[in-house]
Symmetry: C2
Subunit: 196 residues, 2 copies
């Protein structure tokens, strides 16, 4: 059960990385996704800016870690959705969870689901986290008998649209969130003929 010095060092290193990412999320929520600098990040973990470079080679690398982290958090959140025998209930719960997740942190919504940071694109490894979540959704719909990618794309468009309209036009309210049930009803009656 002994652990090598290198392993403990690596653990500490990873722990600090996580703190940096958490600090970046806090600042993004406060000042906007592109509104914070490395000094802010460093200060809020008790460091000076240059020390961050022991953990991340660039600011984009921090965005990249945030991206992966955000999708892992999203996947965990989606995993908490209580399953139901009713397709309708399952879809409504999934969509509501997604909408809540977006609304509770608009900066995260922008980083994960929109293309907002000029010049930033997630690395293949981080993008893989996004693919995993999308695959979860694919499996969920497949479990309902929907196997066509177009069915999945239509569902993501519908929920993404509710989220983006909510964020852009009524960030504090429920104008579009309140439409989740009708939206899922609409979706379900449309795909009804294709259910297996």
């Amino acid at each position: 059960m002994s652990v090598s010095v290198e392993e403990r060092r690596a653990e500490r290193h990873a722990a600090v990385r996580d703190q940096v990412v958490a600090a970046a999320w806090r600042l993004a929520a406060e000042k906007g996704l592109t509104g914070f600098g490395l000094r802010d990040v460093a200060a809020s973990v008790g460091m000076r800016a240059p020390s961050l470079y022991s953990y991340f080679p660039s600011k984009f690398a921090i965005y990249d870690a945030m991206f992966a982290d955000g999708y892992r958090a999203f996947r965990e959140r989606i995993a908490t959705v209580r399953p139901s025998r009713s397709r309708r209930v399952s879809l409504v719960r999934a969509a509501e969870t997604y909408l809540d997740f977006c609304q509770e942190d608009p900066a995260r919504h922008q980083l994960l689901f929109l293309r907002v940071v000029p010049g930033f694109e997630p690395s293949p490894e981080s993008y893989a986290e996004a693919v995993v979540v999308l695959d979860d959704m694919r499996v969920l719909l497949a479990g309902m008998g929907l196997h066509d990618r177009r069915h999945l794309d239509l569902w993501t468009a519908l929920t993404a649209g509710l989220a983006s309209q909510q964020a852009a036009n009524d960030p504090e309210g429920k104008r579009w969130t309140a439409l989740v049930e009708p939206a899922m009803d609409m979706y379900l009656s449309y795909v009804e003929g294709d259910l297996s």
Copy 2:
């Protein structure tokens, strides 16, 4: 038919303002919505940065003018949609026009329809341009017998979702654009019972 000196001066002033806004759009398309500076803007209209302050009191004021200008352009574009007796055709054409408009300039899509510039909110006057367009859409749906705001919100969410998924996940392709017809079919069969 004579025009006062002041009027001609005002006209020239307005013309330069328009050039500045046009230059800002070009740069936003090139370098990202938040990726350009006032020096760039000034240079691309043959000026130095301080001279811009004769036309706009701040960078946010330029974003504000872009916002109003973008919604005017959007309204003109929507006005070109050929009317049809078929509700389905009308909705498909409107949605396709919206999607094309978004895809042809992602920075414009972000400024008009997402909340991307940290700290920027449109002035009431500029926001009024957005309200006008939304009212056009309200009238269009009302002409089809759909008078409920929820019908309008559901339609905007659906089209906005197609646009944002397209922009974020397949900016060069047609993966979600290709779903306009099914999406409109879905929408129409759902609201069918409420048509007057």
